[in-house]
């Protein structure tokens, strides 16, 4: 194991930042490298100043205390174009506290993936609050209501968006789907991205609704990815940590763009990557902001909410979806999501039908 691993496992230190970033990359293959250096430097410096950040299990805190979920809302490209001033999350959390008229005892990531896995750590360090070892997605979905908390009956709002210019947008809606639509319209005027604080609730309710252990799992995966090792060994270890399995190894033979009309509910253009599998099969990956489905010879083999990620065999790194090219040799890895996502309600919220793929999920056949 890496020597940087914390002895207690219940705190995040400056030495964990690289693993945090690598893990965040694994759980969302579409994250780019644009803000990588800035973020890592920022967080490493911050944790150096504030000391290790406590990473606590929700059940270890008073159930009546309140907490909120944090994430970056909007476009990663916009975040690179308009870098954060640094106090956006502090402003958002303080505003949320004022709105609900009670202090927050902890924060946690809305989605322990992409940069949204890192900003809650920054915010917690800035606020001097502990970070809860849980999240609402176990990966990154596109909509703020696609969370396990929503499935458990928690409300997105009141929620607060704070832009890089210091502007704040407070959102209250009894309907979480509407809250997603409203927050997106606010994003346009806030600069394309915003610090987002939502799902204010008691830690007891949060513990029942959120997916627990996802931050520490992300750190474990990140450490594995940073260690030099063969692809096969890496897959075996990911399997042990994450139940990850490799469904195919193949070379990209075609990238098809705009293969179908855009799904209005998910703000991305559909793209397909076609792989000629080493075993002879033809593998088709349906790409949105994530890989939403994998077909082997036309058979749906994996689909959202499965986490489908690509490992570049030649570089030994996770492959980002925006840099795929014909000829890339890739391992296609599938990691199951939290079990609650495979319930009928979970699949209705994030399953293949959301991406206009009216096929039964492989786990439901």
């Amino acid at each position: 194991m890496s020597p940087s691993r914390p002895a207690s496992g219940a705190q995040i230190t400056a030495a964990d930042v690289a693993a945090l970033y690598a893990g965040a990359n694994f759980y969302s293959p579409s994250v780019g490298d644009t803000t990588r250096v800035t973020l890592i430097d920022w967080l490493t410096g911050l944790l150096g100043e504030t000391g290790p950040l406590p990473l606590l299990k929700p059940e270890s805190m008073p159930a009546t205390s309140w907490c909120a979920a944090l994430c970056i809302l909007g476009s990663g490209a916009a975040l690179a174009d308009l870098p954060p001033a640094g106090d956006e999350f502090v402003t958002a959390v303080r505003t949320l506290e004022r709105t609900i008229d009670r202090p927050l005892a902890a924060v946690y990531p809305l989605a322990a993936a992409t940069v949204s896995a890192l900003f809650p750590v920054i915010a917690a360090a800035q606020l001097g609050l502990p970070l809860l070892d849980c999240d609402g997605m176990g990966r990154a979905f596109a909509q703020i209501n696609q969370t396990t908390m929503f499935l458990a009956g928690l409300s997105v709002s009141p929620a607060v968006l704070t832009g890089a210019a210091g502007e704040t947008f407070t959102l209250t809606s009894p309907n979480s789907e509407r809250a997603d639509v409203l927050s997106r319209s606010a994003l346009d005027v806030l600069g394309g991205w915003a610090a987002f604080a939502a799902y204010p609730a008691s830690i007891g309710d949060t513990a029942r609704g959120a997916s627990r252990g996802n931050v520490s799992r992300l750190l474990e995966v990140g450490r594995l990815l940073l260690e030099p090792m063969s692809t096969d060994l890496l897959v075996n270890r990911l399997s042990a940590v994450n139940a990850t399995r490799r469904i195919a190894r193949g070379r990209i033979v075609d990238l098809e763009h705009l293969t179908r009309p855009a799904d209005l509910s998910v703000p991305t253009h559909p793209t397909s990557a076609v792989l000629d599998e080493v075993g002879g099969a033809i593998l088709r990956l349906e790409l949105r902001s994530e890989i939403v489905a994998a077909f082997v010879d036309g058979v749906l083999t994996a689909a959202a909410p499965d986490l489908i990620s690509l490992f570049d065999v030649r570089s030994g790194r996770m492959a980002a979806l925006d840099s795929l090219e014909n000829g890339d040799l890739l391992d296609v890895l599938v990691t199951p999501a939290d079990a609650v996502w495979y319930s009928p309600e979970g699949l209705a919220l994030v399953g293949p039908s959301v991406h206009h793929i009216p096929l039964d999920h492989p786990r439901r056949r």
Binding site: V253, E256, V274, A281, F295, D297, G298, L300
Partner: protein, 528 residues
């Protein structure tokens, strides 16, 4: 209740390849064609994956709506169709992608791309599939139309092959493949041969159209009907070819006769051909003949010229010689000339090596068809060609005294060419009268060849024994026996007559034996 006879035997369903030859599928793009030619028992307009999961086997699926939205949906549709053993899948062009074709190829399922509205297309296909007889009649009519446009045998076979694809089609005469694919006649397990004879108006079997269909295939009748459509066009093409060839052969015959006549009339010959001072005659050039330069002729004839050919036999032989000649020496001219055929080489210098190569190429053709050849000397110009032809003809006559396939050179024979003009059969008749006892003897061949060898070698018994490969005493004994049987050869006043008779008998018996190497070595020596 017993059903009416018309409905008792179900019609064999159309196959995918049959549908692809008929509108509307004849005009669609074939992204992939399955190696298996499946029967099509129904058509289904599948607008959802749920419907695709229920299509019966051997259904031609026309995708629409959700199932025809491209991308992953094409992959899923192809897989479902493959699982249901569908005969094929028809999609719209907007749904086609390279990966879709690739998957169809991997699953080996027929994938068609049509521009037409899927509902219209499905209805039209359903009508065809439900009435296979009508569809086949339409197909036969369409094939007949295409055949009517063809004037060459090769084109006719190509139309039939396209129509019957993937079945191999060939036109064969006996065991000879005239056109098409050899696979049609090769015996392949699991297939059966379908033959349609092609006969002339007189009932003569010209050739057969053949194909191979899978054993037990239900619809061999349509295959036979299609092959039968090719009979008349093939006969017409064959007759036209014969007519054209006959016309050209006749032109060549007349042209070469004019050349010979010109040689016989120097005033005519010298002006246009030999001297070239004025405008040369155009017909040699139009026929592709070259005359300027050094010419060396080769003259072909039957190896038994004394037996006149039956009516039309010479014409048939001319057709045969022309056909075969052009497969061996396609760049050499060939013209019928009296009772033989003449060709020649022309160059700025004499090229005996080229003629030797040509002779080697011709050897097999000559021996297989009972022909011999003579090669004349090398002479310049048109007049030289006519002279070389005379020499070649004289030499060929000498070759007729040898076995079929023999090729003799005038340069090597010289005056011995005279022997070729001996009336062998007349002399054989003389011998029957003058040498009755000897010709009645069982060992007459040995006696004649021995006397001939002694005379050929100037009376030397030892040289004759060496030539014959026997002991000198054997030669002595045979001479004594020949003398007893009335053959007196050592009197000067009869020696020429005896020598001539022995030569004639030996030659005649050599022909009768039909074996080239039976020619006595002594005689061959005499000829050289």
């Amino acid at each position: 209740m017993t059903p009416p006879a018309a409905f008792s035997a179900p019609t064999v369903p159309l196959t995918m390849s049959e549908l692809l030859r008929l509108d509307p599928l004849a005009k669609v793009e074939v992204a992939h064609r399955s190696a298996t030619d499946q029967p099509v028992q129904g058509v289904d307009l599948a607008n959802s994956f749920a419907r695709l999961r229920r299509v019966p086997p051997h259904t031609l699926v026309v995708l629409s709506d959700e199932a025809d939205s491209g991308g992953w949906s094409l992959a899923t549709s192809l897989h479902l169709a493959w699982e249901r053993a569908a005969a094929g899948v028809v999609i719209s062009s907007r749904s086609l992608s390279a990966s879709g074709s690739l998957l169809a190829e991997r699953l080996d399922i027929t994938l068609l791309v049509a521009e037409r509205d899927p509902v219209d297309l499905a209805l039209a296909l359903a009508a065809q599939v439900s009435a296979p007889g009508s569809a086949r009649a339409l197909r036969i009519a369409r094939c007949a139309e295409q055949l009517a446009d063809q004037t060459a045998i090769r084109g006719i076979i190509a139309v039939l092959a396209r129509e019957l694809d993937p079945l191999p089609v060939a036109l064969v005469a006996g065991s000879t493949l005239l056109a098409g694919r050899a696979a049609a006649v090769a015996d392949k397990p699991g297939t059966q041969l379908v033959k349609v004879p092609v006969t002339t108006a007189t009932g003569h079997l010209f050739a057969e159209l053949v194909t191979r269909i899978p054993a037990g295939a239900g619809d061999s009748g349509t295959v036979e009907s299609l092959l039968a459509l090719g009979r008349t066009p093939i006969l017409a093409a064959w007759a036209q070819g014969r007519l054209q060839q006959a016309g050209r052969v006749e032109l060549e015959r007349v042209s070469f006769r004019m050349l010979r006549d010109a040689a016989a009339a120097p005033a005519v010959l010298d002006l246009p051909l030999a001297t070239g001072l004025t405008e040369p005659a155009s017909w040699p050039g139009e026929l592709g003949w070259q005359l300027d330069g050094i010419n060396r002729a080769i003259w072909l004839t039957r190896s038994t010229p004394t037996a006149p050919p039956a009516d039309g036999e010479q014409d048939e032989m001319t057709q045969l010689v022309h056909s075969l000649w052009h497969t061996v020496l396609p760049n050499w001219p060939l013209a019928p000339d009296e009772d033989g055929w003449v060709s020649w080489s022309t160059g700025s210098t004499d090229r005996p090596a080229a003629m030797r190569r040509a002779a080697r190429s011709l050897s097999d053709l000559l021996s297989r068809h009972g022909l011999v050849a003579g090669i004349g000397g090398a002479h310049p110009g048109a007049r030289g060609l006519v002279r070389s032809r005379e020499e070649a003809r004289l030499t060929a006559r000498v070759a007729t005294t040898l076995a079929a396939g023999s090729i003799e050179w005038f340069d090597q024979i010289g005056v011995r060419a005279a022997l070729g003009w001996l009336p062998i059969h007349s002399l054989e008749g003389v011998a029957q009268l003058c040498l009755t006892d000897l010709l009645a003897a069982k060992d007459r061949r040995a006696l004649i060849s021995t006397v001939l060898a002694v005379l050929d070698n100037g009376g030397s018994l030892s040289v004759a024994a060496g030539t014959l490969g026997v002991h000198r005493n054997t030669v002595l004994a045979r001479l004594a026996r020949a003398r007893e049987l009335g053959l007196t050869f050592d009197q000067p006043q009869v020696r020429l007559a005896v020598h001539t008779l022995c030569f004639a008998l030996d030659t005649a018996w050599g022909h009768a034996a039909m074996e080239p190497d039976r020619t006595p070595p002594g005689r061959r020596e005499l000829m050289r």
